[in-house]
């Protein structure tokens, strides 16, 4: 087991009125290696939860640096597709009728992905779709990626398909040096749209950086109650350099 070098934590809340079995996002990270990934499975398709899980889990365990450069992600996705079997034992056995299962497998699943790694040079990230990163420095937003404005969110983001033979569309990269107090937030679209609407110097940023699981749940509840976000799964991964002597 590698010693933690990075502070990383992920929180999630399912859509209001649903439970954890309905959560169709995925998040994975390794505090030791610095690899992380967040995915948002498309509900239109029965296997999006499994596909989102597969993408983030394999991304972090594969540690494939070529994914962070032109052309690399497509090759990696092809490999992951070949390993993706929604009927494998790692997923719960289906209770759907056979014809529904067969059609789900035939149609495949789709998900966004924002994934990357920290290393001594900084952070490098690849993204497909509208799962977004916010880079904070000195308690202020330094950058966001791949979207920059809440108006950029649509209903048809680029997605990674589990079966499509089509080329990956909308692959983009982000790279930055990381200062010792920098924080990277990665959020799925509903939460990301709200984050991108905050002023760069919003007083919310330090509060978001201090959230624990209960605080995150309260934040999601409050945002929904105030109709500031649409009712969707919300996932937040928070990461940054580990301060000397601090817990991960």
């Amino acid at each position: 087991m590698t010693a933690a070098r990075w502070s990383m934590v992920a929180y999630w809340e399912t859509k209001a009125g649903t439970d954890i079995a309905d959560w169709e996002d995925g998040a994975a990270y390794s505090r030791g290696t610095g690899w992380f990934a967040v995915a948002d499975g498309a509900s239109a398709g029965g296997l999006s939860r499994e596909w989102a899980y597969r993408l983030v889990r394999d991304y972090v365990s594969d540690q494939n640096a070529s994914t962070l450069h032109d052309g690399g992600l497509g090759a990696w996705v092809t490999d992951v597709r070949s390993r993706f079997d929604p009927r494998s034992e790692e997923f719960p056995a289906s209770r759907s009728p056979d014809w529904v299962q067969e059609e789900s497998v035939r149609r495949g699943a789709h998900a966004t992905l924002l994934a990357g790694r920290f290393d001594q040079d900084g952070v490098r990230v690849v993204a497909v779709g509208d799962t977004c990163l916010v880079h904070l420095r000195s308690g202020m937003r330094l950058a966001s990626f791949p979207l920059v404005d809440p108006a950029d969110f649509g209903t048809q983001p680029d997605l990674i398909a589990s079966r499509a033979q089509a080329l990956l569309a909308g692959v983009s990269f982000y790279e930055s040096e990381i200062d010792k107090d920098d924080i990277i937030l990665v959020a799925t679209d509903a939460l990301a749209a709200w984050l991108l609407g905050l002023p760069a110097d919003s007083a919310f940023w330090p509060a978001i950086c201090a959230l624990d699981h209960h605080g995150f749940a309260r934040l999601c509840t409050d945002l929904r109650a105030a109709h500031l976000v649409r009712n969707d799964d919300m996932t937040l991964l928070r990461a940054g350099p580990l301060s000397p002597g601090a817990a991960a």
Binding site: K15, A16, G17, T18, A21, D22, E24, D40, G41, A42, S43, A44, G45, G46, L47, S48, R49, E50, F91, P92, A93, S94, R95, S96, P97, W99, V100, E102, E103, S104, R106, R107, T112, T155, Q156, P157, T188, D189, R230, N231, D232
Partner: protein
């Protein structure tokens, strides 16, 4: 804002399909061989299949909707599902998924290159008159209970598919009673589509009755609810000619217009597509 309640297990949707099964449904659409009854059954089975697939989450089909199909014709009105669902009114989607009447091998509507086993719940039927008013009365009798049991849900949608005038009296007063059923999210939505065997130009989603050719068409217009803002957006996205205030009503429709209509008219709200 009305008509904005998303669908979830706590707030399921209710869809009722009213199917004309009168004798004239045996006639083919203009320029085709397929009878209107065959085309209707096919369109309804395709719609139901899409609902089931839309409701699959993970390893199960969630009951996000309850769906009824009521046939009227042959001197009778009643549930149109066959097999183990025979006689059932509103059926949760997971039950619908489990009990199709039969499976038939056919090409996929969305991909004619692929042949798969497709479920059939409703078979074509056509005989005698058009007891549309009685059918609407029957719908009211069970939909009002559904609305009372689901006061926070998106209101019920009733889609009436017919090729002719009611033979059991003026359906407009009954239609008005139906449209007065409500949940906290809005009044019941009643949409009407008139199928035609003649090669006439369809009149799609009018927002005023002045272009309609006769009293019958105007009567259907009067019975039809306006499309919701989301349905308007969906229709525009499909390139359909809709403007503000457009009613859920198509006159002189062919088979293709029927499929479009079912697609637009059963979009409940902003779908949580991710």
């Amino acid at each position: 804002m009305p008509y904005s309640q998303p669908i979830d297990r706590g707030h399921p949707g209710c869809i009722v399909l009213l199917l004309d099964q009168s004798g004239s449904m045996l006639d083919p659409f203009a320029g085709g061989r397929e009878s209107k009854a065959d085309a209707l059954a096919k369109a309804v089975n395709r719609l139901l299949r899409n609902f089931v697939l839309q409701c699959q989450r993970g390893q199960q089909v969630r009951d996000y909707y309850e769906i009824a199909a009521i046939g009227y014709g042959g001197g009778a009105v009643g549930p149109a599902f066959g097999g183990r669902l025979k006689g059932q009114y509103l059926v949760p989607v997971s039950i619908l998924a489990s009990y199709p009447l039969k499976m038939v091998t056919d090409v996929l509507p969305e991909d004619p290159q692929v042949s798969v086993d497709l479920p059939v719940w409703v078979e074509p039927k056509a005989a005698a008159g058009t007891p549309m008013t009685a059918a609407m009365n029957m719908v009211g009798s069970f939909v009002v209970d559904w609305a009372n049991a689901h006061p926070g849900s998106f209101p019920p949608i009733v889609v009436n598919i017919s090729d002719g005038e009611a033979t059991d009296g003026d359906p407009r007063p009954t239609a008005e009673l139906l449209r007065n059923i409500y949940t906290s999210d809005g009044n019941l939505l009643l949409f009407n589509i008139n199928l035609s065997s003649e090669p006439r130009t369809p009149i799609e989603y009018p927002n005023a009755p002045n272009l309609l050719p006769d009293l019958y068409a105007r009567g259907l217009f009067d019975m039809s609810s306006p499309l919701t803002p989301y349905m308007l957006a969906v229709a525009r996205g499909m390139g359909l000619p809709v403007s503000e205030g457009a009613r859920g009503f198509v006159f002189n429709a062919d088979a293709a217009k029927l499929s479009e209509f079912l697609d637009v008219g059963t979009r409940v709200s902003q779908v949580q597509d991710r």
